[in-house]
């Protein structure tokens, strides 16, 4: 059987196999490159949310406190949901928050229509907290929300702390100090780059009933 390829006639089986191999490998590497590119875009969105404030819109710049963190610590992610009359008008938006020297975290959500909102903030391993009746003017709005500490211990992201969460962090408690990795970092509650009994103790301090839930 003769193949036609860009005007050339190909009869040799060896050449056919070679062509097939080149096409297959090209497709494979193409798919891989596209996959890597998509991953990069995804992480880029998380790390650098759209920071350009549009005219007529409001920006919520906030400072929050995570339980157990008292000095400079690793970056964290939070989910911010903005609601009016219990209806979400924005979010949950996942943003990265950065720690200052006192362990307070700074974050920003931009391009919200000015108005009064209930702001819900949830950490990756923390119960969601509602900050009610926050008024946002046009432009940048700075809010110090550190009067409330976000409670630690919700590892399975169901907005409650139960015995499963306790078991999840206790499963990490296998040595005096367990180094953190990308997969276990959410268990480092105090942000000291290790998982130890102190992190477990913080979670246990919140687990005082079978019904510990976030807002």
């Amino acid at each position: 059987m003769t193949w036609r390829f860009f005007g050339y006639s190909i009869r040799s089986s060896l050449v056919k196999v070679f062509l097939l191999a080149v096409i297959t490998l090209g497709l494979a590497f193409g798919i891989i490159l596209v996959s890597q590119r998509q991953m990069f875009f995804k992480s880029a969105e998380e790390i650098a949310p759209k920071m350009v404030l549009l005219p007529g819109k409001a920006s919520l710049r906030f400072k929050i406190r995570f339980q157990g963190v008292t000095s400079t610590a690793m970056d964290k992610k939070v989910a911010v949901t903005i609601k009016q009359a219990e209806v979400a008008v924005s979010g949950p938006t996942i943003i990265k928050v950065l720690s200052d020297a006192n362990g307070l975290y700074l974050g920003e959500v931009v391009n919200i229509a000015p108005g009064t909102y209930d702001i819900y903030v949830k950490g990756e391993a923390h119960l969601r907290h509602k900050f009610p009746a926050v008024f946002l003017n046009e432009g940048i709005n700075d809010f110090d929300l550190t009067g409330v500490v976000l409670k630690a211990g919700d590892f399975d992201e169901n907005n409650q702390i139960d015995i499963r969460d306790v078991a999840l962090i206790n499963a990490q408690n296998t040595d005096l100090n367990v180094p953190i990795t990308e997969t276990n970092r959410i268990f480092d509650i105090d942000g000291n780059s290790a998982i130890n009994i102190n992190d477990v103790a913080i979670v246990l301090s919140n687990y005082d009933s079978f019904d510990v839930k976030g807002d």
Binding site: L14, V166, L176, V200, D208
Partner: protein, 195 residues
């Protein structure tokens, strides 16, 4: 033809390897508990199945989890009564608010803490509830040889009752291993009587 087939297979293997090693892997959204350990059995035990008015009647909450290495246990026991409570639960720790169970000497000094230990009486709902959670903080967990007593509730029997049925709440009773696995459970309620 054999050479061609070999080349084809080699190319296929190479592509498979490339996809397997380099391509991004899906990761779960968050840590999850797998339910693969066990089975373990929760049950209650008393010196005898019957008691008398005026007696202090100790009821043990026990777990049979032979060979398992434990990390955390939670249990809720409910007693639904009709007219009045046939017994008064005795407080094992007068320094704390509310009524506490007596935690087991099986577990004392072996890395266990009890973040939840409370007896509630809802006289409107006519419901007595025992909540208990125990967590083992030792890095290696707690290996069970056969069975353990978690805690004991001492009750003063104040009225006769043909049937005292203390039932485990299946939704709130959990046993988790050090590896983070949730055990499948058998729950055997405590059935007692006041003669």
């Amino acid at each position: 033809m054999k050479i061609l087939a070999t080349i084809g297979i080699a190319i296929t293997a190479f592509v498979t390897l490339v996809f397997g090693v380099i391509s991004p892997k899906k990761t779960p959204a968050g840590p999850i508990i797998s339910q693969s350990a066990g089975p373990a059995t929760f049950y209650m035990a008393a010196p005898s199945p019957t008691t008398r008015i005026g007696e202090i009647f100790p009821i043990d909450i026990k777990v049979k989890a032979d060979g398992m290495t434990l990390s955390a246990i939670a249990t809720r026991v409910n007693y639904k009564y009709e007219s009045s409570l046939a017994f008064e639960p005795k407080d094992a720790d007068l320094k704390k608010d509310g009524i506490q169970l007596k935690v087991s000497s099986d577990l004392a000094g072996k890395g266990w803490v009890f973040p939840i230990n409370q007896v509630y009486i809802d006289s409107e709902e006519k419901l007595l509830t025992i909540d208990l959670a125990a967590v083992n903080l030792s890095p290696e967990g707690f290996k069970v040889d056969n069975e353990i007593t978690l805690a004991t509730i001492d009750v003063l029997v104040v009225a006769s009752s043909p049937r005292l049925a203390l039932a485990f709440d299946s939704g709130e009773t959990k046993l988790l291993t050090k590896g983070g696995e949730e055990a499948t459970l058998q729950l055997k309620d405590g059935i007692f009587a006041v003669r």
